[in-house]
């Protein structure tokens, strides 16, 4: 599981989609990646769930000198599993004794490119 985030990009071209920014992949570990309960709606996309250790997320927050995990996730361009890219749909966290110990991300597979 890799977190793909863009390098800091504030140039005009980056902001209008010229894609001059570069990207950095960081491993997220330990992680549990699984399909969420089957969706019975016709033609609905199937979702995926990613459970992340809060300590590993906090390590990345510190390494990237960010102020919070929310900021870290907001900068994610995609999450890479194998050859597939997933987008974050929703984020929640679980706490015990006032400490976050787990982040739960609902993911959606990015639309595949035409071959």
């Amino acid at each position: 599981m890799l977190r793909r985030a863009s390098q800091p990009c504030g140039a005009d071209g980056d902001q209008v989609g010229l894609g001059r920014g570069s990207y950095q992949d960081s491993p997220l570990s330990p992680a549990v990646f699984r399909r969420v309960r089957a969706n019975m709606q016709e033609s609905a996309e199937c979702g995926w769930e990613l459970l992340l250790s809060a300590s590993s997320v906090q390590a990345q927050v510190s390494a990237a000198q960010l102020d919070s995990a929310d900021t870290l996730f907001a900068e994610v361009v995609g999450l890479i599993v194998g050859t597939k890219t997933f987008l974050i749909e929703a984020i929640s966290s679980s706490e015990a004794f006032g400490q976050v110990y787990l982040y739960r991300l609902l993911l959606r597979e990015a639309q595949p490119k035409a071959q």
Binding site: A5, S6, Q7, P8, C9, G10, A11, D12, G13, D14, Q15, V16, G17, L18, G21, A64, T71, A74, E75, V76, V77, G78, L87, I88, E89, A90, A110
Partner: protein, 162 residues
């Protein structure tokens, strides 16, 4: 067309910086003015609060206009939940402030057309201009108030666009 879209965004962004320097956001590792082009940023499930999101929704051509002129439909989405200090009770005032900023960002309704394909950007010699905004009704979504303003941006079609 792409130069018109880019020039429109950059003009609004620069005007916002002057109008309200405090309206900033952290996006892709950089602190930027609080306005973005939706199609040029990572896909998200929820629009960010207290920033302006430009969404390009359509292209059309009016037969009464010169043949090389096209109209680009742009929606400006924004929402706010007010400030934490006021527990969100100022969200109505915050939305009105954003309404005012949209009006001011869009005046004057033109900007020199620039090409951002190269660094630094170069002037194309043309002008990008747009209509006055039409504002939608207030959208209430839980603790957020939002609105959408529609603008039509006029662009001269380049040789390669046809």
């Amino acid at each position: 067309m792409v130069d018109a879209k880019d020039s429109f965004y950059i003009a609004l962004r620069d005007r916002l910086t002057t109008l309200n320097p405090q309206r900033t956001m952290m996006a892709r590792g950089a602190v930027r003015p609080g306005i973005l082009v939706e199609e040029a940023e990572p896909a998200v499930s929820q629009l960010p609060r207290d920033v302006y999101v430009l969404r390009w929704t359509g292209v059309s051509r009016d037969l009464s206009l010169p043949s090389r002129m096209v109209m680009l439909n742009c929606e400006i989405h924004y929402c706010t939940a007010g400030s934490d200090a006021a527990c969100g009770l100022d969200r109505g005032r915050a939305l009105t402030t954003m309404d005012s900023e949209v009006v001011e960002m869009l005046e004057p309704a033109s900007t020199p057309a620039m090409s951002f394909d190269a660094i630094p950007a170069t002037a194309t010699g043309g002008t990008t201009f747009w209509t006055t905004p039409s504002f939608g009704t207030t959208i209430i979504s839980r603790d957020c108030l939002g609105r959408m303003a529609k603008v039509t941006v006029f662009a001269r079609q380049a040789e390669g666009d046809e």
